[in-house]
């Protein structure tokens, strides 16, 4: 049984906690968050050791195997460093850290510690993306020439069923480390790298519709270092949409064909939810494990990435997303900001 500590119980932390509870062979033994309300939620699901300061959790981590870090961006580096030094395997929300310099240090720390570190690049675990990667690897569309990826949503301004204020750190460029390019662009740049490998940044354009120092829209163009493949990425926080509406698409243009994620994602997410919900109900009735969050389609990827991480820890294998992936994605983002003379 892997013993797990939760660091940060905000929106993402709570989602990871609920998913972790459904993974066989893992047990959450501790949780840390400054909010008592958040800690009560952890207590409600059976977590006994609760801390308002994550440093205390790490100090008491001698019987722990891994931590899941879902803190504000600016705390990623320090918490990863302390967790690795405490001999823990680490799953951390993206971005791995706010600067390339910090990412370099993390890569060294991971090597030195011999522990696993995986970053939450959840889009790689979306069913449609997995199928697209498989098709490319099998050569169905020939050599990749152009990849267009876009994600224009509300980002941190998304409204939940219960309205809560956007966390203050999002408005502070030093703490957030960037805007939508770092938040959403990070995922899409990682996807480009997932399909073509080493990449270079060619062009970047940032938008500031919200009058904030951080960007709320970005368009970047990248190219592969090893082939003629180019990538066009369009991200934004400016669209007032809420789940289940999700304005994301990936189109792979090869020299022998093309694939679009739109053709692989369920056309109607309400019907999909009913279908998958019913399947889970039957699984439950006949005593089988349910497929957590499959009814939401996209959110299932959060369960899958976490399960993959724990499988890697149990089997002592390398996670699909390493610290080097985090570093290389961050290098491209810093390059994009440099093109636009932005320095956070």
């Amino acid at each position: 049984m892997l013993k797990v500590g939760m660091i940060g119980l905000g929106k993402m932390g709570r989602l990871h906690m609920m998913n972790c509870l459904k993974i066989d062979g893992t047990k959450i033994i501790a949780a840390a968050d400054p909010s008592k309300k958040a800690l009560n939620k952890a207590k409600f699901v059976g977590v006994n050791n609760l801390y308002t300061d994550y440093h205390d959790l790490l100090n008491d981590s001698s019987n722990m195997d891994a931590v899941i870090i879902s803190l504000p961006n600016y705390l990623h580096f320090e918490s990863i460093q302390l967790a690795l030094e405490a001999g823990l395997n680490v799953f951390v929300e993206k971005p791995m850290a706010n600067t390339v310099e910090e990412c370099h240090k993390i890569v060294s720390l991971v090597k030195k510690s011999g522990k696993k570190l995986m970053i939450g690049h959840c889009l790689r675990f979306v069913d449609a993306i997995e199928k697209m990667k498989d098709s490319v690897d099998k050569g169905y569309i020939g050599d990749l020439e152009v990849i267009t990826i876009e994600e224009v949503i509300s980002g941190p301004f998304a409204h939940g069923a219960v309205p809560t204020p956007v966390s203050e750190w999002w408005f502070d460029p030093k703490k957030a480390g960037g805007g939508t390019l770092l938040d959403l662009g990070y995922h899409l740049i990682d996807l480009f790298r997932f399909f073509v490998g080493d990449s270079k940044m060619l062009y970047c354009c940032l938008d500031h519709k919200f009058n904030l120092p951080i960007e709320d829209g970005a368009i970047v163009i990248l190219c592969s270092s090893n082939s003629s493949a180019k990538g066009i990425i369009n991200v934004g926080w400016y669209q007032k949409t809420n789940f289940p509406k999700y304005n994301f698409r990936l189109i792979l243009h090869g020299n022998a064909g093309y694939i679009s994620s739109d053709a692989l994602v369920p056309g109607n997410l309400y019907l999909h939810a009913i279908k998958e919900g019913t399947k889970n109900l039957f699984r439950k009735l006949i005593g089988k494990n349910i497929r957590p969050l499959s009814y939401t389609y996209y959110y299932e990827s959060y369960y899958k990435e976490l399960k993959h991480f724990f499988d890697c820890v149990k089997q002592d294998s390398d996670p699909l997303i390493s610290a080097t992936d985090g570093l290389e994605t961050m290098e491209l983002i810093e390059e994009a900001y440099k093109i636009c003379n932005k320095n956070f």
């Binding site: 929106k11 993402m12 709570r14 989602l15 609920m18 998913n19 459904k22 301004f157 998304a158 409204h159 939940g160 069923a161 219960v162 309205p163 809560t164 204020p165 956007v166 408005f171 519709k209 919200f210 009058n211 904030l212 007032k240 809420n242 789940f243 919900g277 889970n280 109900l281 439950k284 349910i290 957590p292 969050l293 009814y295 939401t296 959110y299 369960y303």
Partner: protein
């Protein structure tokens, strides 16, 4: 008798000048008596969240800018003008002022931006029907002799229409106003009994129905209920069937039978027919049903609800 002036922009380009002229013409037609010694003026736009006026969620700062010019034209350049909004459950005024263009307006027009959740706040008791509430209200609103309510013309999933009456709900100092959502109609009426809007200027330049529609409409009234009455009609709703509007009449905030509609170069029916009506009852029921079904499913199957859908 309450007057309601209904007018629209001369062109469909909605330029700054066009918006300014329309607002000015509408207030002129209201014939409001500005010949008093107004110590200071409070303008209350609707800045419920961080989506700007083009999304049809918040008040266009150009409408507020035009009101500032008009007020200065009537009361002189020395009058102090405050643009005021309170924090909301999900919105913080300091960010909204910056993101929605009000900081820029403040610099350009020399008006002061005020967070109604800060400063001198008092508890005010109010009765609505057989219910009693104690609401936190900024003293500035109680002391001002001229409050200009500048709501957005928009559909609202929970109460049908979010216009003049609902905009004053946003003036309650308590940031976590979500706690009032179970008695929303009563609290909306309650705050309007405590704080009187002297003039209402409804921003329908871009209005919210099924989608954001460029309407170019400005509604001006000297009675907050009368403004909502006209707004509800434009949205395609029977005002008597909108709970908080109906309740406001019962509480004598206004009178449906004593409304004098002045149609300036347009008419209500023409505007209504162009409005992308949203069936709010269907929306309200379907949203509630979805959340209830999700909760039941999660309880039976033991599946997770993503935080964005958590109740």
């Amino acid at each position: 008798m309450a007057d309601v002036v209904l007018t629209s922009t001369e062109t469909k380009y909605f330029t700054d000048d066009d918006v300014s002229k329309t607002v000015s013409r509408a207030i002129d037609l209201l014939n409001y008596d500005f010949n008093h010694d107004f110590h200071f003026v409070v303008i209350k736009p609707s800045l419920c969240y961080y989506w700007d006026y083009s999304t049809s969620e918040t008040t266009d700062p150009r409408v507020v800018s035009a009101i500032v010019d008009y007020v200065r034209g009537q009361l002189g350049n020395d009058v102090s003008i405050f643009v005021a909004e309170a924090d909301a459950s999900a919105m913080r005024t300091k960010h909204a002022f910056k993101m929605l263009g009000y900081e820029k307006l403040s610099r350009k027009k020399h008006v002061k931006l005020v967070n109604l959740s800060k400063g001198d706040i008092v508890d005010k008791e109010v009765s609505v029907g057989d219910k009693k509430f104690t609401l936190k209200v900024n003293k500035m609103l109680l002391e001002s002799k001229l409050i200009i309510n500048v709501p957005k013309l928009k559909y609202h999933r929970r109460v049908g229409i979010s216009c003049a009456l609902k905009n004053m709900f946003g003036a309650i100092s308590t940031p976590g106003k979500y706690i009032y959502h179970r008695e929303l109609s009563e609290v909306i009426v309650g705050i309007n009994k405590i704080v009187n809007s002297d003039v209402t200027v409804v921003d329908g330049i871009i209005a919210k129905g099924k989608y954001p529609k460029k309407m170019g409409v400005i509604i001006v009234s000297d009675n907050v209920l009368a403004a909502d009455y006209a707004a509800a009609k434009i949205l395609g709703y029977n005002p008597r069937r909108i709970a908080h509007i109906n309740l406001a009449e019962k509480e004598k905030i206004g009178d449906f039978n004593h409304i004098n509609l002045v149609e300036d170069g347009t008419d209500l029916e023409e505007i209504r027919s162009a409005f992308p009506e949203q069936n709010y009852l269907l929306q309200k029921i379907s949203w509630k049903l979805q959340l209830k079904m999700l909760k039941a499913y999660s309880k039976i199957v033991g599946d997770t609800i993503p935080p964005i859908l958590e109740e």
